[in-house]
Structure formats: structure tokens, C-alpha cells
């Protein structure tokens, strides 16, 4: 075992030394590839998001809807044939990472989230006249617990808390005399502590002197269920939620 290992290590060092220049060459070729293959026939001066931003998905998975951005010119008219490159933090991947806009001026890419739960700041870039134009957008990756929370919230809470209706779910929001907050409303929800959130979910609105239209879930959902829902609420929050507590770094 030992001898095999050390022989291997030696071999690896040598191989690494030999491979280094090779990979550098290959890498350069790779990064040059997409742009070389994609000959932009036009340039725009503005980028707008058409759809696919602010999605929520599980870590490591491809988001349900593609990210679509549109390249416009000064007049706000769509520009076909312009090059758009997509960038994101490490772990995020785009398919394709660079693309020419289609006949309606739109560039479409499938986004695969990284493996760490959290918010992913993505950007689209198009080389404009003179300088390049960028557009930032955001996607949210949920870890296991947060996703369990999202499934529970979809089942038990969204009918009241999400004002939007969908074909399969008619929102009950408009029917409520006292309006609840959407779970992404960080300005309000970030100010409520985990303990208070827990008690309003456990015991209903009256627990915090609020309306009984918010029902109690303490006998329906388990403690881990409620913890998961809170983790989900925190993950969605806009502006982002900053957990209180010790500042760990000393300096």
C-alpha cells in the first residue's frame, strides 16, 4: 500500500508537471471556442431580463425555466444576432454559456445551480458599442431542509400567503380581511425572530396578538416541519435575511 502510494505520488507530480502546459493550452483553446464559433452579426446597447430570474430550485439541479434575456438597441428595439455571455459564481453552469440572440433578440440558457444552498448572483453580458453591457439577476438554491419547507409551504400556506393565483391554485389572499405577507417580504419577516415565527405558526395569529385568520399548525405539523418552513422563509427573503448571533471572526 505504502510503496504503491508513494510511487503514485511521484508519478502524479511528474504527470502534473507535464500536463500543466498542455492544460493551459487546452484551456485557452476552450475559452476561445464559443466566441470563435459564435460570430455576432449585431450589437445592442441594452440588456433586459425577459424571464427566468428569481427562480427557486434545489441545489445542484437545473432550474425549471430557462433564463431568457433580450438585447435591445438605443430605440429599445430587439437586436437579433448579438452575442450574450452568461456568468455566475463557481458551481453554477449555463447551457449554453454563450449564445447569439434569436430573431426576436432573445438569448436563452438553462441554469444549473451550485451545490451550496443560497442566493446566486448571475449576470448576462453583451459586448455593446464601445463598452459591454451587463445585466444582473438572482436565483435561489434550496438545501434539503429548505426544500422540505417549500413543499410544506406550498401545501399548507401559499394559498393564503401568496397573492398570485396559478391555474392549479386559486389564491385565497384577496378573501382575507387581514392581509398576510408573502414569504419573500424580507422587510417585515426579517424583523420577526425565529422564536416568534415558530410561535405564530404553532399557535396561530392570536399568539402574537394578531388575527385568528392565521390558523395554528402546532397539532398538524411537527417541530422539524416548522423549522423547515422557517428555513424556507429565510431563504426566500428579499432583502436577504441576516441571522443574528455571534460575530465569529475576531478581527
Amino acid at each position: 500500500m505504502n510503496t504503491r502510494l508513494s510511487a503514485q505520488t511521484k508519478f502524479r507530480v511528474l504527470a502534473a508537471l507535464a500536463i500543466l502546459p498542455l492544460t493551459m493550452l487546452l484551456c485557452c483553446k476552450h475559452s476561445a471556442l464559443p466566441n470563435a464559433a459564435l460570430k455576432a452579426t449585431a450589437q445592442g446597447t441594452a440588456l433586459v431580463e425577459s424571464s427566468g430570474g428569481h427562480q427557486v430550485g434545489a441545489t445542484g439541479t437545473t432550474l425549471t425555466d430557462p433564463l431568457v434575456v433580450q438585447v435591445n438597441d438605443d430605440q429599445g428595439t430587439a437586436v437579433p444576432g448579438a452575442l450574450v455571455e452568461f456568468h455566475g459564481p463557481s458551481g453554477v453552469s449555463f447551457d449554453p454559456a454563450a449564445v447569439l440572440t434569436d430573431s426576436s433578440g432573445q438569448a436563452t440558457t438553462a441554469v444549473t445551480l451550485g451545490t451550496i444552498a443560497g442566493r446566486y448572483q448571475l449576470s448576462a453580458m453583451t459586448p455593446g458599442k464601445g463598452k459591454s453591457v451587463t445585466l444582473d439577476t438572482l436565483e435561489i438554491a434550496l438545501g434539503y431542509e429548505q426544500r422540505v419547507g417549500s413543499i410544506l409551504a406550498d401545501k399548507y400556506c401559499s394559498r393564503c400567503h401568496d397573492p398570485e393565483s396559478s391555474p392549479v391554485r386559486v389564491s385565497n389572499y384577496d378573501n382575507l380581511e387581514v392581509k398576510p405577507h408573502a414569504f419573500s417580504e424580507g422587510n417585515t419577516l426579517n424583523k420577526i425572530s425565529d422564536a416568534d415565527l415558530t410561535s405564530i405558526i404553532l399557535h396561530g395569529g392570536p399568539a402574537l396578538n394578531r388575527s385568528a385568520l392565521m390558523p395554528p399548525y402546532g397539532n398538524t405539523l411537527s417541530a422539524p416541519d416548522i423549522k423547515a418552513i422557517i428555513a424556507y422563509i429565510r431563504a426566500l427573503s428579499d432583502p436577504p435575511y441576516q441571522p443574528p448571533g455571534t460575530v465569529y471572526a475576531r478581527q
Binding site: 445542484g60 439541479t61 444549473t112 413543499i151 399548507y156 390558523p215 395554528p216 397539532n219
Partner: protein, 684 residues
């Protein structure tokens, strides 16, 4: 030669010439030899990670307690029952440290919250990879025989599926993949046996082709075989990429071998000349065909359920005389169809046939002209049917259902990489291979018989996840570590009512005693729940309780005697032992109790946030409307429901409010006072 020898002997002299010196030298060599092991450890990869970890925690507020929990050296989680020997925690040092939740640098991240503890399950059970390895490359990326690289996060739910054969609330992707194995009929060709020995069964109900010529034409069959999705985008029938000649020969064999059956076709009664042109769409709507069948709308979106076939172009496919017979009684053509036997009047059938005939696309199959087939072509069609395994799914005259037509997939999740022929340029990993094979089977060679399925990226990921869950470890682990799937029962109601329940295909949507669909409520205890008069009326004319639902209970046009048969059966057989049928006799409820219940309803429990009692003031839209609940439900059921809704329907979203007996009693009395007609009971 001479000088070298001289030199060597002088060196020997210098080192070992004198015994004391010789002893010193020997000890030195020994010392160096002994130092090799610690030095190797010192320079090993894991040791450098441990040093980095110590550097990382040094500046943190809780450095002292982190430091105290840190153990130097190689860590190991050993679980003989699961075959786990995991040393991952040697480098992944922060997995259990709650205070490191802000650290994103690997390998020191805190593990995200999951339902199982690290010590009880180890790492490789979920993540794959080589648990015993102590270098990154060997642990994560090994491709050696019998080893597997780490599993990409997108398939992580496959880990859960090794033990959990049942469907879990937290694994939507795995659940979807498993459903698809049945729904897309994969298991018709590929056997999949669960570790407990039960077989995964198909749920796609591919039609029998024994009487196919009664139903459609050879031209339609040809176009369908060439590209099923061109006829119906949502169909699960895969594309076999047939040449024109092959599709023509297969269609010739199918039509030629088809045997006519009495009752399969009926005279196409034309709707009366003065029929209302809107009658078709409105009868289609009233019969709630859309609960199960979808149709593409002008925007290209499918609207409707997926229990039955899409009907966008049904006029191109079905012969009107077959359609008429089918609508009269679908069980004549297919005795196991999930479609209910509506009791349509001849005029209604004519109206529906005429309406469905309009659902056609004049471009579809317009260029198809087939010459009469020669006996050779028909024989060739049969040969193709045998080769392609059509009979694995469809019953076909003159062709036996093949056994084990395609490889068994019961342990596909542990297929050794050495047994896989990868495509050039493809990453050497099992998930990549499985996903590629599902996405484009024929890319693996022109002799591959597996057809092309039309799947979204998410569906491919889900199927891959479900297949990766079928591991050797899942099969070999002790039974007590496994959570069994809940199998469908083979419950069958008895007598004339049982026959009616089968004819009306109640099982397609409702569950009874562990068997049936999930589209509509479980009816195992319906007899304890509803009142006779209401049930009779409802079966005659099912007006929905939830106006927001798209899928609804259809009207079957039952005769009075059939209705009574069903009502009697439901009320006597589907009883829950937990419900006290004599509870809260309505007469003992004083007006005071009812009034108290009313106040509880509106103020203490604010039930109006989900339910409507008075259509003028209440707007709640989540639960069923309760304007006439006192004429619908029994008091015993209401009381038991209010005390604990999940005990009666585990998946209901109505929260259990932990009511006192007194409050539950008052609310029951109040609800029982709501007898209908615009919510009079709610009014003061």
C-alpha cells in the same frame, strides 16, 4: 574498476571501520527509516487539510470549543451492517459544527440539515465515492474497477431511495422518477424487482391491438408509428424511428391480424338536424371529460387531465362508428379500461361523436397513401413487431408477449463502470451513462432497440435518480433498515354494487381500502361521512363542493335503481369504526349551543378564512363551501373531523386545532344547523 573498488572500500572504512562509529551509523539509518512513516503522514493531503482547518477556526469566536472537538489523525465511520467504512470526516472536519454555517470553503462546510445523523449512516450511502480513500482524487474521482466516483448533487435523492421504497415528502424527484418507471411503461420491457421481491408494475395501460382495425385505419397507424408525438404531444408512446417501409409493413400486419368484434362498432347515429351546435362542447364540458383527457388550446398548451389519451386530433384517428360504440360502453372493446361507462342516451352519443370528429387536423397524415400490402410485407411487419418487442406492451394477434425483453434493471444503480461501453468523449460515470441512455438510446449504436422517448430535462433527471437508487447495497442491507413501499391492495367490492363500481371506473379516481387513484377523495369511510339523501342527489347530479377545482366528478346518468344500489352499498360498507353514528343527536342542540358554535366559528377559530357559510359575507376559498353542510355530513363525522382531521384524511390541509370536547360539540351543533339554501343557518 580498480579506482571504484578502492573508493568503495574507503567509504566502508570511513563508516564502519571502528565499531563505535559503525554503531552510530547503523542507529542513524534506523532512525531515518523509522521517520519515514510519520513524515509521510505529515506530508499527506489529509494532514494538510487538518492544518488548514485549524488555521480556519483559530480566529473564530468559539475557537476553543471547536479546537476541543477537533481530533487529529484519520477518522472513520464504520457501519458493518451497511457496508460503510467512511474516512471522509478526516478532511470534512466542519460537517457537524453548527457555528460554521457561514463557511463556504470546502472541505470545511457544515453539512446542510438532513433527517439522518452522520454517525448512523456515514457519507457514501448518499454521496457515493470511495469512503476508505484518504486522498481527494481517490475518494471523489476513482474510476477503478468496483469503485464509483462521487454522485453529482442533482441525483442526491437516489441515496434516499435505497432504503425508502415508499414515497417520501422530501424527495419529489425520486418520487417522480419512480412514478415514471410505471407511467412510461419502462417496466413492460425492463423488469425492476424491489429488494423485498415485489415487482414494479406498469400503470400506463397500453391499448390492446387485437381489434385495432375496428378503431382506426392503416394510414393513421402508419403516421402514428412514424411519429407518435406529432399526433399527440403528450403521449408516452416512444418513437421507434422507423423507415417508411417498416412503418408501412407493421401497420399492414396490425390491420391484417386484427379480428373484428361484435359490438366494437355501432351505427353512427347522426345528431338531429336541428341540434344546437353548442351541444357538443357543453356535453363534453358537463361530462367532465377534461378531468382525464386533455386538448391542446389555441396557444398550444394542453388543458385537461392525463389519465386518458389526449384528444386534440381524435377525429383523425377514431372511426365514428367505433367512437359511438366506445361511448356506449368502453368495456366492450377494452374490459380493463380506466374509462367509466357513462350511461349516455343515443342522442348524446351522436352529439359527442360529431363533436369529437371536429377535433381533427386536416394536415395530419394527408400525404399518406399506402398500397395494399403483399404477404411478404405483412410477414416482414410481423418480424419487426417481434424484433422491436411491440408485444411487450400491446396485445397483438399472432405475437407472443416476450419475457425479459430488455435487461433487468433491479440493480442498475451498482452497474460496474467496467461493464459499460461509454461513448467517445463521455464522462466515465454511471449517472452520465444512464442519463445519456435515457435521453438518446440509439446514440449507443444502430442495433440498439430501445426507442426514443420524449422527455423534459427534469424528467430525465428524475428517471436517472430512480434508477440510481436501485443499488446492490439497497438489496443486501438488512430488512429492518428498509422502509417498504406501500403496495396497492387488490380490494374488489362485491355483488351488483361492486359491478357498478367497476363499470363506472370509480377506482380510476377514488381510493377504496388501499386501491385506486388519487385524483379524488378516498372513499373508504364515505358511508360514515355523508347523509343518504345528499349521496343520492350527488350521484344523480354531482354539483361540486369546490368551485375552484378543474377536475371534477362527472355525471354518469345513473338509473334510480343503480343509484340506490350504490348508495346502499356505500352507506353500509364504507363505514369507519372510529365514527360514532349516534353522536350529538340534532334535537338536543339548544339554540344557545348553536349560537356559541357560531361565535367560535367566526371569532375564536376564524374558520371563514377558508370556508364559506354565508355567501354574502364569507369569501374563504380553500376548504369546501359549508352553506349546507348540515344536510350533507353526519354529526358523528363532523365531530370526529373537528377533533382531528388528519385521523380521517391524513393528507388534508385543514389544521388540527386541538379543540376541547365542548368547543367541538358546539361547532358540530352549529354546522349541523346549516341546512342549505343560501346559508340561512349562518344568519342571525
Amino acid at each position: 574498476m580498480q579506482p571504484i573498488r578502492k573508493y568503495l572500500s574507503s567509504v566502508w572504512q570511513a563508516l564502519f571501520g571502528d565499531p563505535v562509529r559503525a554503531f552510530g551509523v547503523v542507529s542513524l539509518i534506523l532512525l531515518l527509516a523509522l521517520a519515514i512513516a510519520p513524515a509521510k503522514e505529515h506530508f499527506s493531503q489529509w494532514h494538510s487539510y487538518q492544518r488548514k482547518y485549524l488555521g480556519l477556526i483559530r480566529d473564530r469566536g468559539d475557537a476553543i470549543s471547536l479546537r476541543r472537538r477537533f481530533e487529529p489523525g484519520i477518522h472513520q465511520i464504520w457501519l458493518p451492517e451497511l457496508g460503510v467504512v467512511d474516512r471522509c470526516t478526516t478532511c470534512h472536519l466542519g460537517l457537524k459544527e453548527a457555528s460554521l454555517s457561514d463557511v463556504t470553503q470546502q472541505p470545511f462546510r457544515k453539512h446542510p440539515v438532513v433527517p439522518h445523523s452522520l454517525d448512523a449512516f456515514g457519507c457514501v450511502i448518499c454521496h457515493g465515492g470511495q469512503g476508505q480513500a484518504t486522498t481527494v482524487v481517490e475518494a471523489h474521482h476513482s474510476e477503478r474497477a468496483g469503485e464509483e466516483p462521487i454522485l453529482p448533487t442533482r441525483y442526491i435523492e437516489s441515496g434516499c431511495g435505497q432504503c425508502h421504497q415508499n414515497s417520501l415528502p422530501g424527495t419529489p424527484q425520486l418520487n417522480l422518477g419512480r412514478t415514471m418507471l410505471s407511467r412510461y411503461g419502462c417496466v413492460h420491457c425492463h423488469a425492476v424487482t424491489r429488494p423485498d421481491g415485489s415487482k414494479v408494475a406498469a400503470t400506463d395501460h397500453p391499448p390492446s391491438l387485437v381489434h385495432i382495425a375496428d378503431k382506426t385505419t392503416r394510414e393513421w397507424l402508419f403516421s402514428w408509428l412514424k411519429d407518435p408525438q406529432a399526433y399527440a404531444a403528450s403521449t408516452t408512446m416512444p418513437n421507434f424511428k422507423l423507415s417508411d417501409a417498416d412503418a408501412s409493413d407493421i401497420s399492414a400486419y396490425l390491420v391484417n391480424s386484427s379480428s373484428p368484434k361484435a359490438g366494437d362498432t355501432a351505427a353512427d347515429a347522426k345528431p338531429a338536424a336541428n341540434a344546437d351546435p353548442a351541444a357538443g362542447p357543453s356535453l363534453y364540458g358537463e361530462s367532465f371529460c377534461a378531468s382525464c383527457h386533455s386538448v391542446q388550446n389555441a396557444a398550444g398548451n394542453l388543458v385537461g387531465g392525463d389519465l386518458g389519451p389526449e384528444l386534440t386530433r381524435i377525429g383523425n384517428k377514431a372511426k365514428p362508428e367505433w367512437l359511438a360504440a366506445w361511448l356506449q360502453n368502453p368495456r366492450v372493446y377494452d374490459s380493463t379500461t380506466p374509462m367509466p361507462h357513462y350511461r349516455f342516451a343515443p342522442q348524446q352519443i351522436a352529439t359527442l361523436v360529431a363533436f369529437l370528429q371536429t377535433k381533427s387536423d386536416s394536415d395530419y397524415g394527408s400525404g399518406v397513401h399506402l398500397d395494399a400490402a403483399t404477404p411478404q410485407q405483412i410477414a416482414h411487419g410481423r418480424k419487426l413487431i417481434v424484433e422491436l418487442g411491440c408485444a411487450a406492451c400491446h396485445e397483438i394477434n399472432g405475437v407472443q408477449k416476450p419475457e425479459n425483453f430488455a435487461p433487468d434493471l433491479s440493480a442498475i444503480g451498482s452497474k460496474p463502470l467496467a461493464q459499460i461501453v461509454f461513448l467517445p468523449g463521455m464522462e466515465h460515470s454511471l449517472p452520465t451513462y444512464i442519463a445519456a441512455k435515457i435521453r438518446q438510446p440509439r446514440a449507443f449504436g444502430s442495433s440498439v432497440k430501445m426507442p426514443q422517448f420524449t422527455l423534459s430535462a427534469a424528467q430525465t433527471d428524475a428517471l436517472t435518480t430512480a434508477l440510481l437508487a436501485l443499488t446492490a447495497r439497497g438489496r443486501s442491507m438488512p430488512d429492518n433498515l428498509r422502509v417498504a413501499a406501500v403496495p396497492e391492495t387488490n380490494y374488489q367490492p362485491a355483488g351488483p354494487a361492486g359491478k357498478l363500481i367497476t363499470e363506472l371506473a370509480c377506482f380510476s379516481c377514488h381510493r377504496f381500502n388501499g386501491r385506486g387513484g388519487e385524483m379524488a377523495p378516498d372513499l373508504s369511510w364515505e358511508g360514515s361521512s355523508v347523509q343518504r339523501q345528499w349521496l343520492t342527489n350527488f350521484l344523480h347530479n354531482p354539483n361540486t363542493l369546490r368551485p375552484s377545482l378543474i377536475r371534477r366528478m362527472p355525471r354518469f346518468n345513473l338509473s334510480d335503481s343503480d343509484n340506490k344500489e350504490l348508495t346502499d352499498y356505500i352507506l353500509t360498507v364504507y363505514q369507519s369504526p372510529a365514527i360514532d353514528a349516534d353522536l350529538v343527536p340534532a334535537a338536543t342542540n339548544s339554540a344557545d349551543v348553536v349560537e356559541h358554535g357560531r361565535q367560535l366559528f367566526y371569532s375564536k377559530y376564524a374558520c371563514q378564512s377558508c370556508h364559506i357559510i354565508d355567501t354574502k359575507t364569507d369569501k374563504g376559498y380553500i376548504g369546501p363551501t359549508l352553506t349546507q353542510v348540515g344536510s350533507r355530513l353526519t354529526a358523528g363525522w363532523l365531530y370526529a373531523w373537528l377533533k382531528n382531521p388528519q385521523a380521517l384524511r391524513p393528507s388534508t390541509t385543514e389544521p388540527n386545532q386541538n379543540l376541547s370536547d365542548e368547543d367541538a360539540h358546539a361547532l358540530t351543533a352549529f354546522l349541523m344547523s346549516l341546512k342549505g339554501s343560501g346559508g340561512q343557518g349562518a344568519k342571525r
